[in-house]
Symmetry: C2
Subunit: 510 residues, 2 copies
């Protein structure tokens, strides 16, 4: 196993400074101590796997991208137009090249963590075009909102990485948007992040910006950025995403490969067959990534929701989605590729009980399936249409709790604790016991946002429900924000890059 | 395996009538299709098991009950005063007598279900002294409130059984309360229920009332009632509860044996050692039940929460509680005794996001640990101080979803669904496909209380959050209430019994 405790060369004064600065306590690499739930038997898993291979061989999959088609053709795949038919052996050989684990790092202290089959990491939401702000107003999000999200992420202990487009800055013209999204997470946070990967040119911009901050030497040897490569289910990978994939992995960065499953809308109305299709999609693109660059760090992704037949809206937290999580986890472990799921996914139109039920269901479905990257684990609500700032801090706390659960049961103090049982005996109480006093703080998680006051105390304290408490907590977190140190020269270079690229890219071309 | 589909003799006209009446669709016996998460290794489990035996042997456990002390003494246990020291072999021999599965039944159609190591059943909350009513007012609960709860339970499809004291009727004098609690669940519902077991006399009343409704012949051969036998942790079983246990199982009914764990307050500040202590408590009382009546139907219970060191309040939904769930599940499967956990447990002072997070965490912790009885799975909030009527119906829906998840993945339509993948092909969509049209309703759960409308639609529909939607849903359920048929003579006998016992029991003696 890689030793991740050893500090690495970072090359610039800014990073040295950052290392020396006391900062938000960060979750370290979290290793699973719990063994995952299994939702299908080994035989059933093999049935799904074989069905995926059959789909890729007989139905085929579209790579709507000239370069990819040429590469597949050169590799000996059967290509008819945009459609590629892949045989199982080629797929399995390519997928076997993907690493079982890799590290991600930001520029901040304690920002290095591992993503592997036995670890779990938490990343906030990405994608929503709306913000639910700290006054509870729901509106289009702006670049200022994105900065606010990133500031809260930076100051919250529950996130391993920033998510890049944590809120879509709708006030920035589309051709310029990727620059500002990258800029904000690189400047407001010192964490690893998602870089924008919608097309070759924008991805090159993302890499160039990471190089300014981290230095090109550092970037060659360290993953500081992931690209989110979304599939176009059923069975299509398009050029925009594949260009992004190539640029990211050629620069030594990582990619998250996510089929986009709207159950029964772009997959069959059947859980097992949905798994077979999404697995075919994931396998084809993971294989492609390894064709482009053997050993490239990839994460087996999937965005899986059921679809409301009433409104057409995605439904997360559904039992079928939990089952899909379980299957994908079992598949990913079979392929020895780390995998991602979505946590804290909810459809509440306010930060209400529905938000809570659905979020926690998706959290627990992911962790009990031993997911390795919990995406959207912070702020997601309204089926991904809104980033809720109050929920962002509430989810950060949930992440800490999930990490505790994931780590499992410690036996380090077991014998000592049993002595206390003998000491206290039947009918006694433990509150004043030496073992309790020495260990209760570590032994049981103590939430700050969840409230455990008696009703009467809670009443006296102003009847603050979870929305109100989270909102106030988020305000306090935001007020405590300190920008992570960045060398002035680096910052100027980064700003100048954005300015130059803006002048080159017409805001009228979408 | 017992054939549970075969109808049994019920003996009275009322029950025949009930069987013929169309009623609320009921969850059938739910068998797990998912394999449980394992939070400790086989070796670690053995370590905990051995620690429990060591506690029982060396520290001992108090049975504060003369009859029990005599029985233990006669059985050859080492008894010093109230303290019993038990050796491992005796414990294991006795526990081995407990059945791996048994059936419960009510008097209603489809009210028979199985509790076994491979099944899960859902029961609403019991215990709260307060109600959060349909106007959102939080106040002491009354007998009318209890009746309302039972009416909603009767009309909700997500409950296998009624919970007896689903809300404490604070307006009834304590010596009379058990009569009215039993009366309400026997009359307002046609489901199996919890009978009151606080002491010998009250438990005899519970059994007598069940005999009136079901007939004594039926009662001898069928479990219609469970007694909830709570421990007095650490390591005490008291007379009140043990008397209840004896009366229940001598009448052929079942008991739920629940150590009452307030982590770090009445157990060591250590998860594994807490498990060892609670397991010692559970083993001792399960063993005792089998000493009293070999083969008596028992459920390995446990009420486990962490305790807030700030307010002293129980904290459910905590990661340590989820881990305890996992351990108890592994232990119960080792002993081959069905086990219970608590679901839908939350501490929200309103039905807010906290209620949702904590409820869903405890639901998922229980189901992924393959719990066999999910107690409190309906209406629990405010750390068990309140029964929330709106949450009761919301949790009923969650129960249906959890049942779907628990059942796991079906492969019945897999081949047919894969044909759809070939038919649709890359880039197509499934919504109009014949397979989708034939199967989408079954394939994906469709909630009624969780909302998936777009924000704009939701706004137009009156900005109803989950509390408001659940409240309205509960009102509609209540309005649809139809009393389950009961023979007039039976009802008169039951009412007369309550009246007679009230006249015998002074309301002044608590």
């Amino acid at each position: 196993m890689t030793d991740i405790s050893k500090p690495r060369r970072r090359g610039r004064g800014a990073r040295k400074l950052a290392r020396e600065t006391a900062a938000t306590p960060r979750l370290p690499t979290i290793r699973y101590g719990i063994k995952p739930v299994e939702v299908v038997s080994a035989d059933q898993l093999e049935t799904i796997h074989q069905a995926s291979l059959k789909i890729l061989r007989e139905v085929g999959i579209d790579f709507r991208d000239e370069v990819a088609i040429e590469q597949w053709s050169a590799a000996g795949a059967e290509v008819r137009g945009e459609r590629v038919h892949l045989d199982g052996e080629m797929i399995e050989d390519l997928v076997a090249r993907a690493p079982e684990r890799f590290e991600l790092t930001g520029r901040g202290p304690n920002s290095r963590f591992e993503i592997g089959l036995d670890t779990v990491a938490f990343c906030p939401t990405h994608g929503p075009p709306n913000i639910r702000d700290l006054e509870g107003v729901r509106r289009f999000s702006t670049i200022d909102d994105l900065r606010t999200v990133n500031k809260i992420v930076q100051m919250s202990p529950g996130f391993h990485m920033a998510s890049g487009f944590a809120a879509e800055p709708m006030d920035i013209a589309v051709p310029w948007r990727h620059l500002h999204i990258n800029h904000s997470s690189l400047v407001e946070t010192d964490l690893a992040t998602f870089g924008m990967t919608t097309g070759e040119e924008r991805t090159r911009d993302s890499i160039a910006m990471a190089e300014i901050v981290y230095g090109s030497d550092f970037l060659r040897d360290n993953v500081v950025m992931l690209g989110h490569i979304s599939g176009n289910s059923p069975l299509v990978w398009d050029s925009t995403m594949l260009e992004g994939l190539r640029v990211m992995i050629e620069a030594g960065q990582g990619v998250l490969i996510s089929p986009f499953v709207l159950g029964a809308a772009n997959t069959p109305a059947d859980v097992a067959a949905t798994a077979a299709q999404l697995n075919a999609e994931a396998l084809a693109c993971i294989a492609y990534s390894q064709l482009v660059h053997p050993g490239a760090p990839v994460i087996y992704g999937q965005y899986s929701v059921a679809v409301s037949m009433k409104s057409g809206a995605p439904m997360s937290g559904m039992p079928e989605v939990s089952l899909l999580n379980g299957i994908v986890g079992q598949l990913a472990r079979r392929y020895k590729v780390p995998w991602r799921t979505s946590a804290a996914q909810s459809s509440g139109k306010t930060f209400d009980a529905q938000s809570g039920y659905e979020s926690a269901t998706s959290y627990m479905a992911g962790v009990t399936a031993n997911a390795n990257l919990m995406l959207h684990a912070g702020g997601w609500d309204e089926a991904g249409m809104v980033t809720c700032l109050a929920k962002l801090v509430a989810d950060s706390e949930q992440n800490l709790m999930m990490a505790t659960y994931a780590r499992g049961v410690s036996f380090d103090r077991f014998d000592e604790a049993l002595e206390a049982v003998g000491r206290i005996g039947p009918g006694g109480h433990y509150l004043g016991d030496e073992f309790t006093l020495a260990n209760f703080e570590d032994a049981f998680f103590s939430p700050k946002i969840l409230d455990y006051e008696a009703f009467e105390t809670w009443e006296l304290q102003g009847l603050r429900d979870m929305w109100e408490r989270s909102r106030q907590h988020a305000q306090a977190v935001l007020a405590s924000y300190e920008p992570p140190p960045m060398d002035d020269a680096v910052r100027e270079e980064l700003d100048a890059f954005v300015e130059r690229r803006q002048s080159e890219l017409s805001p009228d071309v979408v």
